[in-house]
Symmetry: D2
Subunit: 95 residues, 4 copies
């Protein structure tokens, strides 16, 4: 069952990403509690924003590759090149 294997690997990657993001949000909280400077807080928020964008890009990629077309019912129907062009745009805007 290759589909399931893919999903489990993908799930692990996404969970790793969201846990790192949680750590980054907790670091923002600690910085605010300890009255760190605005610069440090802004820097931490910018980092969390990058992590969140990376997470979204990966979920969107997964969504495009596995949900836009049911590959079992319609094998080969998804135009891989057109999907790749779309994901290029998504990544540009999520940066």
């Amino acid at each position: 069952m290759p589909r399931m294997t893919h999903t489990i690997r993908e799930k692990h990657k996404l969970l790793g990403r969201v846990r790192r993001l949680r750590g980054q949000v907790e670091a923002i909280e600690r910085a605010l509690e300890s009255e760190a400077g605005c610069e440090q807080v802004m820097h931490l928020i910018a980092g969390a924003r990058g992590a969140l964008a990376g997470l979204m890009a990966e979920v969107v990629e997964d969504h495009v590759r596995t949900h836009l077309v049911d590959a079992e019912k319609h094998p080969g129907a998804l135009n891989a090149e057109a999907a790749e062009h779309l994901l290029d745009v998504v990544r540009t805007y999520l940066k």
Copy 2:
């Protein structure tokens, strides 16, 4: 030939958008030439950015609806609901 009709209507809409955008960029140029205040220039740039985002959203929508799946070869293969969820995300990020 409904596909062609769609493309021509779509092309007219997109051309209308890009021409309005050109007008907005020319207004930024005139504002800079006449030494308008930073506030006005920033306001005009923010407007052009919205217009450009709207143009991209429409091209991406067109791309998802007509190019990800060749509807003649694979009728019904594109999951319309999944495509709509994807476009919701794209619109959120393009705003």
Copy 3:
């Protein structure tokens, strides 16, 4: 000491924001663990992105209003209208 009062009120508001954001990130984590659909995960991520942008906008506002000029040494030096125009731009781009 009005400055300190301001800082403490501001700190409470920011801590409230970052704690809500942490809750939203934890909801993404739970959604991934329970294998919720991509749509739900994308929706939760878009919500967290809005919360993070709101947090950044507030920290930037605080930074512009209190750190660009030392109001004790240079009272009245910050052009309030120009600062407001800048913050309008920042809010537009953070949305």
Copy 4:
């Protein structure tokens, strides 16, 4: 009059940027007119978006450096380091 010299040099740089941007918008228009592929149009729009963001970053920088504080009335009042931290954030979000 160093202030004026700065303004004229800055104006030339900004006009150069906006004229290149106009050229990019015209290229999008021609691509749509000649029925270029979605991929090419999306690529051109992404390029114009980068150019527009660069223009906004430069105008914001100019605004922060010259308008937040009237340097003739309040010399030395703008905290240069705090302004730099702010501009770092602006550039991150405008990318």
